[in-house]
C-alpha cells in the first residue's frame, strides 16, 4: 500500500509510512502490522478502528516506540513525528519525546497509574522529568492541569492515591498527566472502554473540548464505532495488520468502500434503526 494516495491537505504532525511490526515468539513470528501508512494532521482527531488482533494498538504504540522489544521487532517503515523518525531515535532521545511532544492515555487507569504515588505527583512528574521546571512550578502546573480536566478540589485531590478515586476521576488524572506538558499529539488507546456509559460520555466530552482548546492532534484507538462517530474527523479501518479503508468520518460511515467496514457497521448494535 502506498501513502501517496491519501496525502492530507494540511501538514501531518505524525505520519506512519509503510510501518511493519513483528512479534518474534518462540514458535513463530506474528506479523502484527503489515505495511501501514496514514498521517495525522495537527488539530484533527483521527480514529483507528479495528477488532482485536487488527494491529491498531501495535501501530499506536510504535509512535512512542513503546512496543516491548523483544519480542517486538520494527521490521520496516518509519513513524515520522514532526518529520523525524521515532524508530531511529536512541532511548535517551525517546525519553525527551515521550510525554512531552507525544503522549498517551491508556484503557485502564488502574493499571497505568502508580498505586503508591500521589496522583498529583504523577502529573507533575512529567514536567520534572522534562525541561527545567522547579518542584513548585511543576506542582502549580499539575494543579492547573487537574483543574482543567474537571477534577473538583484539585488541591485536595493532588495528595490522594489512585485507589481513592473513581474510575472516571482516575481517567481524568491520566489525561491531565498526558496533557500537562502540552504535547502536539495525544494518543488515546481505548480511553473509555473500561468506563460506564455515562462516565464515558463525560470523558469523551472532555477530550473533545481539550483538543479544541489546545489544537493538538488526537490519535484515537478504539473498537467502538459509536465513539468514532461521536469524535473523529477522519477514520482508518484496520484488519489483520493492514489498513482496509481511510476516509472522512462521514464518508466511511455512509459510503464505506471496504466490505469489512460494511460488515463492522452492520454488526454494530444500535439503539435505533439506521435512518
Amino acid at each position: 500500500m502506498t501513502d501517496s494516495a491519501q496525502t492530507p491537505p494540511t501538514a501531518p504532525v505524525l505520519e506512519f509510512r509503510d510501518l511493519r511490526v513483528d512479534f518474534a515468539l518462540a514458535s513463530s513470528t506474528v506479523h502484527a502490522v503489515r505495511g501501514v501508512s496514514f498521517a495525522v494532521n495537527s488539530g484533527e482527531t483521527l480514529a483507528v478502528v479495528g477488532e482485536s488482533g487488527s494491529g491498531k494498538s501495535a501501530t499506536a504504540l510504535s509512535a512512542l516506540r513503546l512496543n516491548p522489544e523483544p519480542p517486538c521487532v520494527y521490521a520496516g517503515g518509519q513513524v515520522l513525528l514532526d518529520g523525524k523518525d521515532v524508530l531511529g531515535l536512541r532511548e535517551k532521545e525517546l525519553r525527551k519525546v515521550r510525554g512531552a511532544r507525544i503522549s498517551m492515555v491508556f484503557q485502564d487507569p488502574m493499571t497505568s497509574l502508580d498505586p503508591l504515588q500521589r496522583v498529583g505527583d504523577q502529573v507533575s512528574e512529567v514536567l520534572r522529568l522534562h525541561g527545567d521546571h522547579t518542584r513548585a512550578e511543576a506542582r502549580r502546573a499539575a494543579l492547573t492541569a487537574l483543574d482543567e480536566v474537571g477534577i473538583p478540589d484539585p488541591e485536595r485531590r493532588y495528595g490522594q492515591y489512585p485507589h481513592e478515586l473513581s474510575g472516571g476521576l482516575r481517567q481524568r488524572v491520566m489525561i491531565a498527566s498526558a496533557l500537562v506538558a502540552r504535547p502536539s499529539v495525544l494518543i488515546a488507546d481505548e480511553p473509555t472502554t473500561a468506563l460506564d456509559v455515562t462516565v464515558q460520555r463525560q470523558i469523551l466530552e472532555l477530550l473533545v473540548s481539550l483538543q479544541r482548546r489546545h489544537g493538538m492532534a488526537v490519535l484515537l484507538i478504539t473498537h467502538d464505532l459509536g465513539v468514532v462517530a461521536e469524535t473523529a474527523d477522519r477514520v482508518v479501518v484496520m484488519r489483520h495488520g493492514e489498513v482496509v479503508e481511510t476516509g472522512d468520518v462521514h464518508q466511511v460511515f455512509t459510503r464505506p468502500t471496504a466490505p469489512y467496514t460494511r460488515d463492522l457497521l452492520a454488526a454494530t448494535p444500535r439503539l435505533e434503526p439506521v435512518a
Binding site: 464515558q200 474527523d233 448494535p269
Partner: protein, 272 residues
Amino acid sequence: MTTNPLLEIDGLRKEFPGRPPSVAVDDVSLTVREGETFALVGESGCGKTTLTRLLLRLLEPTAGRVRFDGTDLLALNGAALKPLRRQMQVVLQDPYSSMNPRLRIADIVGEPLVTHEEWARGRRGRARVRDRAGELLDSVGLDASILDRYPHEFSGGQRQRISIARALALEPRLVVLDEPTSALDVSVQARVLDLLAELQDRLGLTYFFISHNLAVVRQIADRVAVMRQGRIVESGTADQVFTAPEDAYTRRLLDAVPVPDPRRRILGSVPA
C-alpha cells in the same frame, strides 16, 4: 410467546455487613415470563450481579422471595434445590476464566451431566457423555472434532459458544446470561447474539440477560428493567423503555450511548 411466569422475584433485599450496612439489592420485584428475554441493565456497582447471584441462590438474601416455576427457592435445602437448579443455568462474561484450562472440551461441556445425571457416570457413562457433548457442540455451531482439545486453543467467541453448549447440557428452562458478549469483538458478538436467538426459538428458552450495553439489550430484549443503586428505577417492554423512558436516569443512560452515525453527533463538530 406464553405469559406463564417462570421466575418471580418479590421484595428482594441484600445487605452486606458494615457500618452502615451496604444495601446492594433494595426491594427488587420483577417477573420473568416463560420464553421471553428479560434484560437487566445498569452501570457498575448498581447491584445487577448481586441480584443474579441471589436468583440463582448462590447468595442468601436478607429479605424477599424468589420463586421458580411457582416453587419458593429459598424454602428448599441442598438436595431439594438440585432438581430446580438444573433448570437454571448460567453463562458468564469471561469465557477465559469460566472454564478449567486443564480439562478437555468434552469434559467441560459434559461436566453438568456428570454432576446431575446418574447415567453419565461410570465407564458406559463416559461414552454417552462424549456423544452428548458432541451433539451440544454441534447445536452451537462447533464441530464435534474439537472434543479432545483444550480451552486455550480457541478464540473468545468459540469459547463463549462452548460455555453456551455447557449451559444447555441439562436442557434448562432458564439461562442467565451475565454480560455474555461484553468481552467479544463486535462481529463475533453479532454472531453469538444470533446464535442465542436461534437457540431460544428452537428450544423455547427463557433468558435473563444482564448487560451494561444498551444497544445490545435493544437488539435482543422483550422486556427491560433498569437498575440503579440497588433499585429498579424503571421496567417495561423494550419498546416502552427505549422509546418513551419515564425515569430521568434511564433517559440519561440512553442519551450517553454513543450513536454510530456521525450525522447525529453531539460532541465533536466536523468540517463539512
